[in-house]
Symmetry: C2
Subunit: 118 residues, 2 copies
DNA sequence: TACCGGTAGATAGCAACACTGAATAGCAAG
DNA sequence: CTTGCTATTCAGTGTTGCTATCTACCGGTA
């Protein structure tokens, strides 16, 4: 993974985590592990925790401290109503952006053997 | 457009511009107008010029000064070989990220099938 | 001529975000 | 008690896009 992915994650990682929490509440360490499992191999704990603090301070998630058998108590995050709205906006932005970019993708694929104005 | 789009553009705008240049060389003002035309209504000249200078200094584009009938000479940018490789990497990162996010999108559609609320 | 609006580019400073790299803290097993 | 795993926190850094302003060239109009 290069620097491009790093920069691409700015603005999307937040949505990714919120969407993950929408599916099912989780705590920081768990989220990091899940992301790593999904292929985001270069995301480290520090990044996720900072993000969680951010979305907590914005009131997008509810927090519950749950004692764990191993280690310090877990802070379990779950998406609340406000977070749901925010996530909906995220999807809107994403859909818009993805549509434009996919369009560019197809164009650059086409332009090799075909001439078309637009 | 909200702050989400702003943050989402970080890391993607560069690719968007490079892809645009791959389709056809252009100068800054023109690119800005084209982006505006495509719906990126909040992107301003300053942003694009700074980005173009960045990718020029990285050697991703070739520059040619072309006199214009109106205003100062245009700096026409065109993607070169190195820029092509960079763009290819961009698409790889994009494909990966888009795949993960679309997956999350479908999942969250499954868990709660309301996709519009405001 | 002198001014104004549109075209075209450049620059300085700012805010947001993810990364690096560590430190801290609790518990279990050796 | 020390090691190792779980789990969280924090300070510092770099990249990026935005805001706002400035320079410069041209044609039209008063």
């Amino acid at each position: 993974m290069g620097k491009q992915m790093t920069e691409m994650l700015k603005g999307t990682l937040e949505g990714i985590v919120l969407a993950t929490l929408a599916a099912q509440p989780a705590y920081g360490y768990e989220i990091t592990a899940r992301l790593r499992d999904q292929g985001f191999s270069d995301i480290v704990e520090g990044t996720v925790y900072a993000l969680l603090i951010r979305i907590e301070q914005r009131g997008l998630v509810d927090v519950e401290k749950v004692p764990s058998e191993k280690g310090p108590p877990r802070k379990v995050y779950s998406l609340n109503a406000q977070g749901g709205e925010y996530l909906a906006e995220f999807w809107k932005s994403w859909d818009f952006l993805a549509a434009r970019i996919e369009q560019l993708h197809r164009h650059s694929d086409n332009s090799q053997h075909d001439h078309e104005g637009e």
